[in-house]
């Protein structure tokens, strides 16, 4: 119970950030870049093991944007000129220009590489069909729905290949799911296509905008575990779950990924104890709110360390039967 993990992305070390920029300018060949991506992955696996995390990630050292990465490896997508996302930040938004297909597995080889480095389980990490659709232009499919369902088929193939390769956890992230509440049913349908028949534990991470509108449909997401941000809104989200018997596991985000400061162990223990008044311990996995790629490696490590230490403290308290204020835990 109370296994610890991280949401997906981890920061790239300076040498890799530089290498990626050189590779973009044609100053570094693919082989050399790949060697550095592997080095960074090795380092992150060792760091996660050293910190004592239970379920690991490969840290996505070889990915840029979580949608563009898949678009670059699927057939049917082209890259756009720059568009602005906010402030002075620009990106290349994928354009669906023809029928989407997956010529070959995308993430499986990286998953194998990471899993070979550790005996602890490494999660397979995918971006969900609704998010890929919402974050792309669509010139080919007649509707947002048609595009989403076509993407669901290729993400499903990828999820099955990860499972076949041995992944015990497959995470399919849908951060865009709260963008248009009226399309929540479509997102659920598409995610169902991806997860149907998988034996691996399935997880989805969603970022919530207006939780009131998507909350009531949350239990219908066709996954075993829903990973949510709790820390950045001071665990207020717990109120939504209070008094209901939520039928799924929860990935409990206990540290804010947007702040530079590492939370104290006491703060995180406090958050966990609050959560245990609402959820059963066996229902929870503990992690940061979201991917850590925007933090520095040092900040990310500090945050992961406090996740592990605080969870350990709470776990021990539960094990010693001292309870945490959670009624069920005292059983």
């Amino acid at each position: 119970m109370l296994l610890t993990t991280s949401v997906g992305s981890l920061p790239k070390p300076d040498y890799l950030t530089k290498a990626r920029s050189q590779a973009r300018k044609g100053e570094m060949d693919a082989k050399r870049l790949r060697a550095l991506e592997e080095q960074a992955t090795r380092e992150w696996i060792a760091i996660q093991e050293g910190l004592g995390l239970d379920v690991l990630v490969d840290g996505e050292q070889y990915r840029g944007d979580m949608v563009a990465y898949f678009a670059e490896h699927l057939a049917g997508f082209a890259q756009s000129e720059l568009v602005r996302s906010y402030g002075n930040r620009y990106y290349r938004k994928p354009i669906i220009t023809s029928r989407i297909a997956r010529p070959r597995p995308i993430t499986v080889e990286w998953w194998r590489f990471a899993q070979a480095l550790t005996t602890r389980p490494v999660k397979g990490m995918l971006t969900g069909p609704y998010t890929i659709m919402d974050w792309s232009f669509n010139e080919h499919y007649p509707s947002r729905r048609a595009a989403t369902l076509a993407i669901a088929q290729v993400v499903r193939e990828e999820a099955r290949d990860l499972e076949r390769a041995g992944a015990q956890y497959v995470q399919v992230d849908e951060p865009a799911i709260s963008t248009r509440p009226e399309e929540m049913d479509l997102a659920i349908e598409a995610l169902g296509i991806v997860t149907r028949g998988l034996r691996a534990k399935t997880i989805t991470h969603i970022c919530y905008g207006d939780f009131k509108t998507i909350g009531p449909k949350l239990h219908r997401l066709p996954v075993d575990q829903i990973d949510l941000e709790f820390a950045n809104r001071n665990f207020e989200l717990l109120d939504f779950f209070k008094g209901r018997r939520f039928p799924k596991e929860i990935g409990l985000g206990v540290v804010d990924v947007h702040s530079h400061r590492a939370e104290s162990r006491d703060e995180v223990v406090e958050g966990l104890r609050k959560a245990l008044t609402v959820f059963r311990p066996e229902q929870l996995m503990v992690d940061p709110d979201c991917g850590l790629k925007t933090r520095t490696p040092e900040e990310a490590i500090a945050k992961l360390r406090v996740v592990v230490e605080a969870t350990r403290e709470v776990r021990e308290a539960l094990g010693n039967g001292r309870g945490t204020g959670a009624k069920r835990a005292k059983r």
Binding site: E81, V83, S85, Y86
Partner: protein, 331 residues
């Protein structure tokens, strides 16, 4: 039929007027270039954007809002009482704006946009319209820690925006447009929106418009016509029900038909556009009809944005030819 844009235009253009604005802003943030140097770059891009619109054949041009990070920041920064805060989602788009926080009574000490307007008007050979956020939307997008009353805040904003509009008219604007994407997006207090627009627009010695987009004016169009503005902008792309409302509701205002999807790269055909023009032409005389994309063009990469502008002009020209021919042969 008057062709126009809603407001924003891509700030960078890899195939045309360059991406130098990105570097200029980065350097300005690091204080490596002065305000004047940044302003020079902004003016250069503004001139290029105006020239593109004129060469494409747009009748009523905009300055492209090259200096605008989003619809609210320039005004919030130009007024007293606001602090620019963290990122929030821009309606249902994967685009973000900085949410202003009102922490004391807002005040306007000097004109905010008039100098920029004068520059654009000098750079253009065609009329340039002035654009402001509407009072209702502005208030809805801020966090109000002063009034604790949405109504009082919106009406105060209406006063301040009216003063700003007056200065824009003095600077020569033939039309002042208030953007109200929050009207029709989710639950809207239409009565308040109309009242606030009344304060903002009444008595201006220029034409006035209110533009709505992203949401639906199904059920809101009749009410919005009570606002004392000359033109109502309708996005008939985002929600087809808005087109149904246009067919149904008795029209007392001039209409601006938002008929090209500025949120997707897929280029509309002339035939599709003619079909939409025909719907509008049945409801308003052609000399009371504006045609434009459904929202600002900044969601698109430059190449596709320009292609849409050209397509719009092409479709309007052939539509008018068709009508002249029909009347000549007596259909």
């Amino acid at each position: 039929m008057i062709t126009t844009l809603v407001g924003s235009y891509p700030k960078v253009a890899e195939g045309a007027y360059s991406t130098k604005l990105i570097g200029a802003i980065t350097k300005w943030q690091r204080q490596e270039v002065t305000d004047d140097q940044l302003e020079e770059t902004c003016q250069e891009i503004t001139t290029a954007v105006i020239r593109e619109q004129e060469q494409a054949g747009v009748d009523l041009v905009t300055d492209g809002q090259i200096r605008w990070e989003d619809l609210v920041t320039p005004i919030a920064r130009g007024l007293e009482g606001f602090e620019i805060n963290g990122l929030s989602r821009w309606f249902n788009n994967n685009v973000y704006y900085r949410r202003p926080i009102l922490h004391k009574a807002p005040a306007r000490r000097r004109p905010i946009l008039a100098d920029q307007y004068r520059f654009a008007a000098r750079a253009a050979t065609r009329p340039v319209k002035a654009i402001l956020p509407g009072p209702y939307t502005f208030a809805a997008l801020c966090e109000d820690r002063h009034y604790n009353s949405f109504r009082r805040f919106a009406l105060k904003m209406a006063e301040l925006l009216h003063a700003e509009a007056q200065d824009l008219v003095k600077a020569g604007a033939p039309l002042v447009q208030f953007d109200e994407p929050a009207v029709g997006f989710g639950k809207t207090d239409l009565k308040l929106a109309v009242e606030a627009l009344g304060v903002a627009a009444r008595g201006l010695k220029a034409k006035t418009a209110v533009y709505t987009y992203f949401g639906s004016l199904d059920g809101g169009l009749a009410a919005l016509q009570r606002a004392p503005v000359d033109v109502i902008g309708l996005d008939v792309v985002s929600d087809p029900k808005t087109l149904a409302a246009l067919k149904r509701v008795k029209l007392t205002k001039e209409i601006a038909l938002g008929c090209l999807d500025a949120r997707n790269t897929k280029l509309e055909s002339v035939t599709e556009l003619h079909a939409l023009f025909a719907v509008a032409a049945k409801r308003v005389p052609l000399d009371r009809l504006y045609v434009n994309p459904n929202c600002g063009l900044e969601f698109l990469p430059h190449r596709q944005a320009l292609a849409k502008v050209k397509r719009l002009v092409e479709a309007v020209r052939s539509f008018k030819r068709g009508i002249r021919y029909q009347s000549k042969i007596g259909i």
